[in-house]
Symmetry: C2
Subunit: 252 residues, 2 copies
C-alpha cells in the first residue's frame, strides 16, 4: 500500500498497532487490505512504523510492527509560520495543507490590526493536516496554535531565526537573510493578512528581533507569501539532514 | 486605488486607455472612482501605465497615461512550468493562480502515462490568471499552452535550463541544480501528475537534456511540487534584476 496511515500513539503498544475506525474502514473497504499486507503507520509525533496486517474486519485492522523509525520525512529545522487570518477560510486551509507538505512545524493564526475577526475551523483544519501528513509521508502532525497577536507570539517564542515579511526599504531577500543567519534548528516567520501589517506591528516585530525580509518583486497573496517563505527557510537551513530520510516520492 | 487594472493593448492608444466593461464597472460601482483619480493599468504584455481618470460612467472609464514603463513586476528569468494534469481541476487552478504570483512565464498542462484524460477550463483559467496578475502587480499575463506530451514539449522547447522533478537516486536538490546551471534567461521544469512520471518518461526527459531534481524529503502533491520548484528557480536565477522593480507589496 503506497499511502501512509495514521494512528495516535495510544493505539500503538506492545509491538502492535490498532488502526482508528476511519483508517480501518479505508483499508478494508477501499483498499481491500488482507492479512499479510504491509503498510506504513505514523503516529503524528515522529513515530514511523512499517507494519504487517494480522487481521482485517470492516472496522478493525490490527497489525504487527516489523520496523520502527523516528522523524521520517521531517526537516532539520522547526519552522513556525505565523499568518494573518484571511477573509476566505478556504485560502487559510490551502495554506495549512501545503505548509504541512513543505514541512512546517507549527502554524499560528495571527490576529492583527488588519485582520478580519474570523475564527478557524479547528476540526476541519485537523482533517486537512492529517491527510497531508499521510500523503507527504511525514511522521509529525504540525500544531495549530490558538489565534493570537504578533506581540504575544513574539514574547513567548524562543527561536534562533526571526523574520517578518514586509517589503520596506530595509528588507532583504529572505534567502539571503536565512543564509546569513547560518544553520539553525528553529525559526519563526511572520506574514501579514491581506491588508498587510500595520507599521506599528512591523516596528514591534523588529524591536522583538525580527529581520524584515522580502519575497521578490511581486505582491503575493498572504497564503502564497507564507508558502514561499516556508519553502525558502526549510530549503536553506540544515537541508543536508533531509537526504537520509525515507519516504521520497516522485515529486519529492 | 491600490489594485492594478487590466486593459488589452488594443484599448491603449494615443496616450489614452479605455477600460474593458468589467473593469470599468468595478471602478464605477465598487471603488466609486472619479475624474482625477490615479490608477495603474497593465496590458498583460509587459506594458505598465500610471493613468489619470478623465471620465467615469457606469460602463466606461477613460483615462490619460501619465507614466509608462515596461515589464514591471516581471522576473529576470522566463520559467515554463509543465505540470501533469490533475484529477481535481480546482487543484490545477490553485497551481495556476499561485504560479502567476510567483512569476511563471508559461504553463503547459502535460498529458502523461499516469494522467487522467481531463481537459482544462480555459475561460476559467484565464479569469484566475488575470485576477492574479492584477493582484500581484505584474504586467505580463502568462500563457497557458494546449495540453501536450512531455516529448512534444521537450522537442519544441529552446531553453537554457531543463529540469525534471523526480526523486530518483540521480536527483540533486533543485536549488543546487539551478545554482550550478548559473545565470539563465529561460528554464523549463517538468512536474508529474499524481501518479508521477513513468520511468520511460523520465528516461526520455533526461535524454532530452533534463536534469533530475528533488524538492526535499517529503512527497509533495503535484501542484505543491510545481509551486516549490517555480519558487526555487525564480528565486535563484538572475534575482538581482527584480530589486529595481515597482510594485512591491507588504508581502512582496
Amino acid at each position: 500500500m503506497t499511502t501512509n496511515f495514521y494512528a495516535p500513539p495510544s493505539a500503538i503498544r506492545a509491538g502492535r498497532v490498532v488502526l482508528p475506525d476511519e483508517e480501518a474502514r479505508h483499508v478494508h473497504t477501499v483498499l481491500r487490505g488482507e492479512a499479510g499486507d504491509e503498510m506504513v503507520v505514523v503516529d503524528g509525533e515522529g513515530g514511523w512504523y512499517r507494519v504487517r496486517i494480522d487481521h482485517v474486519a470492516p472496522e478493525q485492522v490490527v497489525a504487527t510492527i516489523v520496523e520502527q523509525r523516528e522523524d521520517v520525512g521531517e526537516p532539520a529545522v522547526d519552522v513556525t509560520m505565523a499568518l494573518g487570518l484571511l477573509k476566505k477560510r478556504s485560502r487559510f486551509e490551502t495554506f495549512v495543507e501545503k505548509a504541512v507538505e513543505l514541512g512546517v512545524h507549527r502554524i499560528v493564526p495571527l490576529r492583527t490590526v488588519h485582520t478580519e475577526p474570523e475564527s478557524v475551523r479547528e476540526e476541519r483544519l485537523r482533517n486537512v493536516m492529517v491527510a497531508a501528513m499521510k500523503q507527504c509521508r511525514r511522521s509529525r502532525l504540525p500544531d495549530v496554535a490558538a489565534p493570537q497577536s504578533p506581540e504575544a507570539l513574539l514574547a513567548a517564542s524562543e527561536v534562533e531565526i526571526r523574520l517578518v515579511c514586509h517589503a520596506g526599504d530595509d528588507a532583504v531577500p529572505i534567502r539571503r537573510a536565512v543564509d546569513e543567519a547560518g544553520p539553525a534548528s528553529s525559526a519563526l516567520v511572520l506574514v501579514g493578512p491581506e491588508g498587510g501589517f500595520a507599521p506599528s506591528e512591523v516596528d514591534a516585530a523588529v524591536a522583538a528581533g525580527c529581520r524584515p525580509v522580502s519575497l521578490g518583486a511581486r505582491r503575493l497573496r498572504a497564503e502564497t507569501a507564507g508558502l514561499a517563505a516556508l519553502q525558502a527557510v526549510v530549503g536553506s537551513t540544515g537541508g543536508g539532514a533531509e537526504a537520509n530520510l525515507e519516504g521520497r516520492g516522485q515529486n519529492g
